[in-house]
Amino acid sequence: MAVGKFGPASGILLVDGYNILSNKLTSLSEKAISELTDTTGIGDTAYETTPVGKVTMEVVQEGAFFDTTALYSHAAFSGSVPTSPQATARILCVGFAGGTIGYPMVGCEGAYTDSYEVLAELGNLQKVNATYAMTGTRSAGVILQPLAAQTDSWDTTSSPVDNTSSSSAGGVGFIQCTAASGFSSFVGKVRHSADDVTYSDLLSFTDNVTAPFAERVSVSGTVHRYVSFTGIISGTGSITIFCGFSRG
C-alpha cells in the first residue's frame, strides 16, 4: 500500500450497490466509536474508563446533488430511511485511500440510512445530506477488486493481497455491483492461497446480475496468506464490481 496522504479523489462510498460519489459529495466522514465504561472505584485517585470491546461506526455524507436520475441520490435514499423495526439494513463500504487493490476499506455488517435531508436554497442546486448508523460489526479490510467494469470472467491472482501469513479467525467479504447488463449469470468469489501457486475458493457471493446489489458473506477458519477476487460470468455484457475483504 502506498504510504502517505490522500486527497478527495481517493474517497469511496458504496451503499447497496449505489456509488454515492456519483452524486458529487463535498464531504464524507466515517467515525469509529469504541464504547467505554466508567471503571472508577472507591479509592481511585483518578477517573478511569475501560473499553467494553464494542466498536460502532457512523458515516456522514454532505453536499451531494439531489438527482432523480436512475441510480443517483433520490433512488439511493428516498426509500431507505427505515420505517419499522423489520427494515432491511444496507451493505455499506467506505474508503479514503483510493480504489486500488490492497488499499484500506471499511465495511459494515448492516447500516441504516438514519437521516436523509434534501436542501433547497436560492442560487444553488438542490443538495442532499445523509447519515448512516451501523448495526452488527465494523470490518476494516482491504480492497480486492476496485470498482471497475468487466466484460469477461477475470481474476486478480496476478495482484493478490499478501498478508505475509495466514490467519485463523475467518473473515468477511463485501461485494458491491453498481451496474450490470447482458449477462445471464455472475458469481463473485474470494479465493486464497498459501503459496501463490494454487488458489482455492474461500467464499462465494450469490449469483446476481441485477444491479444495483451488494452482499456481505462471512467465513470461519483459516484464511491463507494470499487473497484474490474472481468473477465468473456467463453470456455477453458488462458488470461493474467492487470487492473488499476483512480478516477476522
Binding site: 496476478s158 495482484s159 492461497s193 494454487t198 482455492s200
Partner: protein, 77 residues
C-alpha cells in the same frame, strides 16, 4: 502411481507444463504479463479429481481440508 486427490472446493493451479515457470518466478503474482500469457491454468470444480496438483500445494490443501485423498477409480491401479 501418485496419489489422487478430489477437490473439496473449486481450485485453480498451473497445469503440469506451467508449474515450473510459476514456481521459478516465485508465484503467480511475481510473474510478468508476458510470462503469465504463456502459462496454462487448470480449473477444477469441487467434487472433481484434482489431477496433477503442484507438489508444493498438496500439503496445505490437505491440511486445510481443501482436497481429500481419493481412491483410484475402479479398473485402475
Amino acid at each position: 502411481m501418485a496419489e489422487r486427490y478430489r477437490a473439496v472446493v473449486d481450485l485453480s493451479y498451473p497445469a503440469p507444463g506451467s508449474v515450473k515457470a510459476v514456481i521459478a518466478a516465485g508465484g503467480m503474482s511475481k510473474m510478468t504479463e508476458a510470462q503469465r500469457s504463456k502459462i496454462i491454468i487448470k480449473y477444477v470444480k469441487a467434487g472433481a479429481y484434482a489431477e496433477s496438483l503442484p507438489e508444493k500445494s498438496i500439503k496445505w490443501l490437505l491440511k486445510g481440508g481443501l482436497i481429500k485423498a481419493a481412491a483410484a477409480p475402479k479398473g485402475r491401479r
